[in-house]
């Protein structure tokens, strides 16, 4: 018998190291959830969908870079990129939001979270932050790619060109942030109401899609005021119009908003506030 490879059962040892408490728990849940959103550390099945959407987003960005560097024509502005990605983002949310919250409801994992140094509101807000982060990666990541691609493929004075691009980039990033806030809080609230992922996904799609034709109908049949306000009926078009108010009209924007810009701004702020409040109420009530 070898004398070197002896396994000693050293029995149970108490833990004397650091206990980092609530903020560490929040941070750990955040990292865990962002990883789950992209299927990192999960099987291949969990990766297919998020990475398909990312491939679409990056593919779109690559085409934009190619068009810009070959023809010097802008295929899409940075903000326009965020606008035109809103449907892929909706699909992404329909899959990821239930992945983040419906699973824990179905598996009844919440009592395990709530029996740790974490508050119910911490859980809800951390899940929201992780979902927003995932959406930001999807929206802002390709914009940064376009920026780098365009700025460094230019044969003019690169530094001043990069400066010009940067002034175009930041409205795009702000737009992404706003989309992430509005769409994530709504999607997470819908998904948190069911423990079935399929229902969660259907619910998210329904909330975003059912209201789309309403915008069109209102625009066609409405009077001048209704026309200007018609985009309020859908969270995606409402966000787009709020951005139009903030940054001024551009090619990818919808119909003009007249003087109702502040109404759009207030509307999406109110929507976020209501969704977050209801989300917190939901998790205060959910059984432990």
């Amino acid at each position: 018998m070898s004398t070197e490879s002896v396994i000693h059962d050293i029995g149970y040892q108490r833990y004397t190291g650091a206990r980092l408490g609530r903020s560490h728990a929040i941070q750990s849940l955040y990292v865990h959830s962002v990883r789950a959103a992209f299927g990192i550390g999960r099987g291949a099945k969990a990766k297919i969908f998020p990475w398909l959407i990312i491939a679409i987003a990056v593919g779109f960005a690559l085409i934009a870079i190619a068009v810009k560097s070959l023809t010097d024509q802008e295929l899409v502005s940075y903000r326009g990129y965020a606008n035109s990605m809103s449907y892929p983002v909706m699909m992404f949310l329909a899959i990821i939001a239930p992945e983040l919250v419906s699973r824990d409801l179905r598996d009844k994992t919440l009592p395990l979270y709530f029996s740790r140094p974490l508050r119910r509101s911490d859980y809800a807000l951390t899940k929201l932050a992780s979902l927003m982060t995932a959406v930001m990666v999807l929206l802002a990541g390709p914009q940064l790619l376009i920026f780098i691609g365009v700025a460094f493929s230019a044969d003019k004075d690169r530094l001043s060109y990069a400066g010009h691009e940067l002034s175009q980039l930041w409205p795009g990033l702000i737009a992404s942030l706003l989309y992430a806030f509005v769409l994530s809080s709504l999607a997470l609230l819908v998904a948190s109401l069911t423990s079935r992922r399929a229902f969660g996904a259907a619910g998210v799609v329904a909330v975003f899609l059912i209201s789309t034709p309403i915008v069109g109908i209102l625009y066609v049949i409405g009077g001048p005021v209704v026309k200007d306000l018609s985009s309020l009926a859908n969270p995606m078009t409402a966000t787009r119009q709020a951005l139009q108010w903030i940054f001024g009209a551009e090619r990818s924007d919808g119909p003009p908003i007249g003087s109702y810009g502040p109404v759009y701004g207030a509307a999406i702020l109110a929507l976020v506030a209501v969704c977050v409040t209801l989300l917190l109420v939901r998790y205060r009530k959910v059984a432990s």
């Binding site: 650091a18 206990r19 980092l20 009844k108 994992t109």
Partner: protein
């Protein structure tokens, strides 16, 4: 310092359901059995100790802390194993227990080490890298225990840990709980609706019924004064009973056996002498502790009489 102390603890749910009523008790560290029928208030009691529910009135102290005011501190030092299923199916046990250890406040590296230690202690080895969805009920119960143990708590709260297990699985789980309580230096509150199951492994017992305290005492205090000897002979039971009565021993008939109260050291010898003198074939002579259940039964009967 008492491990758990409550004073007039009462919990009423909306709709007038009283889950706990005027519960006052203090228990010392060790393995504590919390017994009562389903719906007696055991789970409510655990949730109050964890600070997940606020009591309607009265106070509780866990590890010297108020679970309402200091709930995050309490939860960092307590491990909780719920009664029902609570595991994600798509993660491996190793990943999930590591995640839960981090949620309890352990840094990433320590969480990974403690998680695989905890899984080893509950008896999961190579299986811990497989997805939990493919586990048997017994393995899932072990993962539930491991996630409660991974951050090395000072107190474990186990809600019906033998639920859904076959008899062999039950014994293994109880043996594990006993080992954690006695060798790991961790105090345990183990809930069960089966008194016979927990009395073997507990130092003290709390019995509740309909939210009220029936009795709270150490197991030794409940049993020491009541030891009995069981005598079994192949024939001549009547004869032996008569002879034992003559020598001043109180023997009760229990089926084919005689149960003799052991109130003296030499009872053993006196029985042997009586059997030898009558020349009866002795089948069995052993000492057994009074089962705690019997004590609770007398207790309950006593209460009903009042």
């Amino acid at each position: 310092m008492a491990l758990i102390e409550t004073h007039a603890l009462t919990k009423r749910y909306g709709g007038g359901v009283t889950a706990l009523s005027d519960l006052t008790l203090a228990v010392e560290p060790g393995v504590i059995g919390l017994v009562g029928a389903n719906g007696a208030g055991k789970s409510t009691f655990l949730k109050i100790l964890l600070g997940l529910l606020a009591p309607t009135s009265g106070q509780a102290q866990v590890l010297g802390l108020d679970p309402v005011a200091k709930s995050e501190h309490v939860r960092a030092r307590v491990g909780y194993m719920p009664e029902h299923d609570c595991l994600p199916s798509e993660l491996s046990a190793a990943e999930f227990v590591t995640h839960m250890a981090r949620m309890s406040g352990l840094p990433a590296t320590a969480a990974r080490e403690r998680a695989s230690e905890a899984l080893r202690h509950v008896g999961l080895y190579e299986e811990r890298y497989r997805q939990i969805g493919g586990y048997s009920t017994g393995m899932k119960q072990r993962v539930k225990l491991a996630q409660a143990l991974a951050h090395d708590p000072d107190l474990l709260l186990l809600d019906e840990p033998t639920n859904g297990l076959d008899p062999a699985g039950r014994d293994a789980m109880l043996e594990l709980v006993h080992r954690i309580g006695n060798q790991f230096g961790i105090s345990i509150v183990v809930c069960s609706h089966l008194l016979g199951e927990v009395e073997r492994i507990c130092d003290s017992l709390i019995a509740i019924d309909g939210g009220r305290l029936l009795r709270s005492a150490t197991v030794s205090a409940m049993t020491t004064e009541r030891d009995v000897l069981t005598v079994e002979v192949s024939e001549g039971v009547e004869l032996l009973a008569k002879r034992l009565a003559e020598v001043g021993l109180t023997a009760e008939r229990d089926g084919q056996a005689l149960v003799v109260t052991m109130d003296d050291e030499d009872v053993y010898d006196r029985i042997l002498v009586a059997v030898a003198e009558l020349d009866l074939p002795l089948h069995r002579l052993d000492q057994r502790r009074h089962r705690v259940a019997e004590l609770f039964q007398t207790e309950e009967v006593g209460q009903r009489v009042h």
